[in-house]
């Protein structure tokens, strides 16, 4: 059976440490914008930890929510792209084909989660980060959109490995960089078409909720809502 890749994020477990952000940046050759450009809103983070304060000082509480591409089943970004740069794969991923992208930025506007990022300039890296680029991931040139791929290079590698060993992909075998780096194991990745997978069980649990479900994009990431209010 075909895979449908999905994710569960446990908001009770997330400590807001941003290890996922660092891991993602390293894994996916995300360019460093520099302080000045970042202040202009040009920094790229395929995954970000959103911080929200609840209550008034001194009883203020800080809440975290890691937000990345929700790999929607009815993705608004895909239908608006004139060149099919943003398109749906057989495994339910929202793929971004950099070579097809002409940079209308329409997908970024249509995305309810604002998780698409634009290369305002050609990419550059603060030294010595330019020496640690991942050879499995393409570097994006000026004028194209990019976003979280669910670490498609790791998915493909895992599937290839399983095929060579004549077996199915085991649950938990494939981990995107963010899930691998999360010290609290708040991020769980897996196949939603396998009802026994950890991610399927978590998504079906009573705590599961979708981000901005009203937007109608049918996201494939389930957030497990907070139980403890401490």
């Amino acid at each position: 059976m075909a895979h449908r890749w999905g994710m569960a994020v446990d908001l009770d477990r997330c400590t807001g440490c941003e290890a996922c952000v660092v891991a993602c940046t390293a894994e996916n050759n995300i360019a460093t914008a520099g302080a000045e450009e970042a202040a202009r809103g040009r920094a790229i983070h395929w995954i970000r930890v959103e911080r929200y304060w609840e209550g008034e000082f001194p009883d203020a509480k800080l809440k975290f929510r890691p937000v990345l591409c929700q790999q929607c089943s009815a993705a608004p970004c895909e239908s608006v792209c004139p060149t099919y740069a943003s398109h749906h794969t057989d495994e339910g991923l929202n793929a971004q084909v950099y070579n097809r992208c002409v940079g209308t930025r329409y997908c970024a506007n249509a995305c309810p989660y604002t998780v698409r990022y634009f290369n305002f300039y050609n990419p550059s890296w603060d030294k010595p980060l330019h020496l640690q680029l991942n050879p499995d991931v393409s570097v994006r040139e000026v004028g194209v959109m990019e976003k979280c791929t669910f670490c498609v290079q790791r998915i493909k590698a895992g599937e290839r490995q399983a095929r060579e060993e004549n077996r199915e992909v085991k649950d938990g075998e494939i981990k995107p960089a963010c899930a691998q780096a999360c010290p609290a194991t708040a991020i769980v990745f897996g196949d939603l078409n396998d009802p026994e997978s950890q991610v399927s069980r978590l998504a079906a649990s009573g705590r599961g909720e979708k981000l901005l479900e009203d937007a109608g994009a049918e996201p494939n990431i389930t957030y497990l809502k907070r139980q403890v209010t401490a």
């Binding site: 792209c81 060149t83 940079g103 930025r105 990022y117 300039y121 194209v144």
Partner: protein, 452 residues
């Protein structure tokens, strides 16, 4: 109307083509300079990347798409108004139609350049067009940007034809009045026009077909432009009012542009005998009506948003009503509604100067309207963490100024090489007994022979 003889008409209206004053060269140099600044800004942006603009995450569109929508809107002046006036056979249209149709053609060219200019990789713009390619991928026909491509190319083709057809007899007139290279060039443009009854009949039929066909095209074009927004699930964009709202706004800004262009032509080409205060007054009444319609649409849009109090929409709503965009919003209301209402409601103030002041206000206001549709919505989408703001930088401001320079330049050059007022239509109109189209045609044919 006045008692201008056909000979005087021909002489007056051909003068700009045959005599060139130094004013013309100065104007062309100034406007050309402004346009080349814009071209320079574009070259800089292509070389460096869109980063030289003020765009950011999450405001991925701003001046670029504002200019696009604004100029496509301006283009609704001409063809649409001219087609409607032709169909209802409004006699006062005669000196107005060509000035209007030219605006359409040029505003469309300027507007349609922005979907290319704004691309991250503009050198690949042709990927938006369907053509046989080794990539074996068609454009995505679900994308409103691809609909834009078809809508605008249809409208541009139609408008250019609509402009060209009634110019043929005038090209023939210029051909017959000139010698040398002018004779050759205008002869080619006149397509062998000799003014036979058969030719007049065919021209009339063609104009009738074009006038009817171009109206639904014009309405659909700005509706499809509005679909760029209303098809996306963005707060305040995803709205059913956008189609008619955009079309009304387009005609509104178009009439204003037409009034300004006519006033400029009247002054600089000395066309006081042909463009009368009554033409301005009639257009001003149309402008006033569109201003009221515009106000009605804005009121509807704002009231339902406020009353509905949707969590994401209301963020955009307050950002424009009393937040960071409030100064621009209220300037827009003054320019588009208060100012035209205060000036154009009173007969005494509906002078040419009054009309021009109101029109300048409307042009500014409508540009702001397009900006305020795009930027506040993008900077206040669903997740508050992803709120943003926007400030333009020099290259985009230069591009905006250059669009006006380009309009001025193209218009100046056009009125230099083509009679900006339809000479034959004016001559026909000067014959009061000619009201029936059939007679008009025969009589026009006679006129042609007597006053070549």
């Amino acid at each position: 109307m006045s008692k201008v003889t056909a000979e005087k008409m021909t002489e007056d209206l051909l003068r700009p083509l045959l005599k060139t004053s130094w004013h013309f060269y100065v104007l062309v140099v100034i406007l050309g300079g402004i346009v080349s600044l814009g071209v320079g800004a574009f070259a800089y942006q292509v070389n460096q990347g869109i980063g030289v603009w003020g765009l950011n995450w999450p405001v991925f569109w701003a001046f670029d798409i504002t200019n696009f929508v604004f100029w496509i809107g301006i283009s609704h002046a001409g063809t649409l108004i001219s087609a409607i006036l032709r169909l209802v056979n409004a006699g006062w249209r005669r000196p107005v139609t060509r000035c209007a149709e030219v605006i359409t053609a040029f505003a469309l060219m300027i507007g349609a350049s922005f979907p290319i200019v704004h691309l991250g990789r503009p050198w690949l713009f042709f990927w938006l067009a369907p053509y046989p390619t080794e990539r074996e991928i068609w454009p995505n026909f679900r994308s409103p940007l691809v609909w834009d491509f078809f809508a605008i190319s249809t409208y541009l083709t139609g408008s250019v034809l609509f402009l060209y057809l009634p110019t043929i007899p005038d090209f023939a007139l210029v051909r017959d009045k000139t010698t040398g290279w002018r004779h050759t060039v205008y002869g080619a443009l006149a397509l062998g026009w000799s003014g036979t009854t058969k030719q007049w009949h065919r021209l009339e039929t063609a104009m009738q077909i074009m006038a009817i066909a171009i109206i639904p095209v014009a309405v659909s074009v700005h509706t499809i432009v509005s679909f760029d927004f209303s098809m996306a699930p963005v707060p305040m964009w995803h709205s059913t009012i956008f189609g008619p709202y955009f079309v009304a706004g387009a005609i509104f800004s178009g009439i204003a542009a037409l009034i300004i262009a006519m006033a400029a032509l009247r002054k600089f080409l000395g066309l006081e005998l042909y463009l009368h205060p009554v033409h301005f007054e009639n257009l001003a009444k149309l402008l006033l009506m569109m201003s009221l319609l515009w106000g009605y649409f804005v009121f509807n849009e704002r009231l339902t948003t406020w009353y509905g109090n949707g969590p994401s929409e209301i963020g955009v709503f307050w950002a424009t009503q009393r937040g960071p965009y409030a100064p621009l919003f209220w300037t827009m209301v003054i320019c588009n509604f208060v100012l035209p209402l205060c000036i154009l409601s009173f007969k005494k103030l509906r002078t040419i100067t009054g009309c021009v002041i109101a029109s300048i206000g409307v042009v500014i206001g409508m540009w702001l309207e397009r900006f305020l549709i795009i930027v506040p919505a993008l900077s206040h989408k669903f997740l508050p963490y992803a709120y943003g703001n926007y400030r333009p930088r020099a290259p985009e401001i230069l591009l905006l100024i250059a669009t006006f320079g380009a309009m001025g330049l193209l218009y100046t050059l056009f009125s230099k090489f083509v009679p900006i007022i339809s000479i034959w239509e004016l001559k026909v109109g000067e014959q009061p007994e000619l009201t029936e189209p059939r007679e008009t045609r025969d009589e026009a044919a006679t006129l042609w022979r007597t006053h070549p």
